[in-house]
């Protein structure tokens, strides 16, 4: 049996309105695997220099 109010209804999030999508563009996290690898390598280089 579905738990209507406490479980199922909470799965539904408000949809993004068309007028507010610019804000969403700015909030979008564009970090990818290359960024993470670069960051990891940079940290590694720092530790090697020390």
């Amino acid at each position: 049996m579905l738990n209507y109010e406490e479980e199922e209804l909470r799965k539904f999030k408000p949809s993004l309105e068309v007028t507010n999508f610019e804000e969403a563009v700015y909030k979008e996290d564009l970090t990818d695997m290359q960024d993470i690898v670069k960051e990891v390598m940079a940290k590694k280089e720092k530790t090697v220099r020390r």
């Binding site: 049996m1 579905l2 209507y4 109010e5 199922e8 209804l9 799965k11 539904f12 408000p14 949809s15 993004l16 309105e17 068309v18 007028t19 507010n20 999508f21 969403a24 563009v25 979008e28 564009l30 970090t31 990818d32 695997m33 290359q34 690898v37």
Partner: protein, 365 residues
């Protein structure tokens, strides 16, 4: 191999997976795969544009626009995202109606949290009418129907939702729940749980919701009912005539026939009696006549025979003997003639006899 190339290969692999899923309208799977692809390489333009298209396909227009705008920022030239954005922005009215639909959906969520499911259902139907690819609206409407134990309606809505996204987890869960409830309570369970039907019809005209009293089915069927009533009346009238009036008419007719038959039979009896009486009379008349006639013929024959014999004897025997014989025979004949009924014959014969006798008396013996 350079790690950047490895990452790009991985990103492309996820993109291909997402494309395959999008082609069979497995939107949820495609979204996951394309997001994976973008996590490996955010500059995978094809994956981002396809993700935007998949979002658009399930009615998430804003999400689609976000992906296409980012795509366009990352790759301003020869990017199909530009075409998509222009296409959406050019149809301003459609975009406005989509925006209104999304707003109504968000409002419906608030209604549901405030136990206003009836109002939410009305709003969600409007949302679906104006934005037919909005998957979330279908799912929320189905959830409300399930909550109100209107499983048939929920099932119909979920089937429509499944056409938009074949493997959506929420849709499949709700479908399974509907199937379970139908199996548990049977089809009749829905009727027992169903709320009484509202006596009003609601529809939207522009931005206004109009509520009208519902047209009753009986009023709609008035003409058909009138025709049916006339037919029933005709049938009843025919039955009344057949069972009540017709037997009385038949009885009168049969009585008349019986009377006529009786009169005819009486007439026949009297006529038969008359005929039989006549026949008896005729028989009584006919029998003596024929008998007398036969006797007369026989006597005439006898008489002629005797006459011939007499003539022959007269020539052969002496006259006095002849006369005696003649006299005896005449006497005998006289006796015979007396027995007969024909007096005329006898008289005639007697006359003849007397004449003959007178002639013979005059002659000497």
């Amino acid at each position: 191999m350079d790690y950047t190339k490895k990452i790009m290969y991985q990103s492309n692999s996820w993109y291909n997976d997402g494309l395959r899923k999008a082609q069979v309208r497995d939107m949820s799977g495609a979204i996951v795969s394309l997001q994976q692809s973008l996590q490996y390489n955010r500059e995978n333009i094809a994956a981002r544009n396809l993700l935007g298209l998949v979002y658009y396909g399930i009615g998430e227009v804003s999400e689609a626009l976000v992906e296409w705008i980012i795509s366009k920022n990352l790759c301003p030239r020869d990017n199909i995202a530009d075409y998509y954005i222009k296409k959406v922005q050019n149809s301003a009215n459609e975009l406005e109606s989509l925006n209104q639909a999304i707003k109504k959906f968000n409002q419906c969520l608030v209604y549901c949290q405030q136990n206003g499911e009836d109002l939410a259902i009305i709003q969600l139907k409007q949302v679906i009418a104006s934005h037919p690819t909005f998957l979330k609206a279908y799912q929320l409407l189905a959830l409300i129907y399930i909550q109100m134990n209107q499983n048939t309606k929920a099932r119909q809505i979920l089937i429509e939702a499944k056409k938009l996204d074949t493997t959506n987890e929420l849709t499949l869960t709700y479908l399974q729940e509907v199937t379970k409830q139908r199996g548990r309570y049977g089809k009749n369970a829905e009727r027992s749980f169903r709320k009484p039907k509202s006596a009003t019809v609601e529809y939207s005209l522009g931005n206004e919701t109009i509520i009208q009293p519902k047209r009753s089915k009986i009023r709609d069927m008035a003409q058909q009912l009138a025709f049916a009533n006339i037919l029933i009346g005709m049938v009843l009238g025919a039955a009344l005539i057949w069972f009540l009036v017709a037997p009385a008419v038949n009885q009168n007719r049969s009585e008349k026939l019986n009377n006529q038959m009786r009169a005819y039979s009486e007439q026949i009896n009297t006529l038969e009696a008359q005929v039989s009486a006549r026949q008896e009379h005729w028989i009584s008349i006919e029998q003596p006549e024929t008998r007398h006639r036969k006797q007369l013929i026989r006597q005439r024959q006898h008489l002629t025979a005797m006459r011939n014999c007499f003539r022959f004897q007269v020539r052969a025997v002496p006259e006095n003997i002849v006369i005696r014989i003649w006299q005896t025979r005449c006497l005998r004949l006289q006796e015979i003639l007396l027995e007969t009924v024909e007096k005329r014959c006898m008289i005639h014969f007697l006359i003849l006899f007397s004449q003959q006798h007178a002639r013979e008396d005059m002659q000497p013996v």
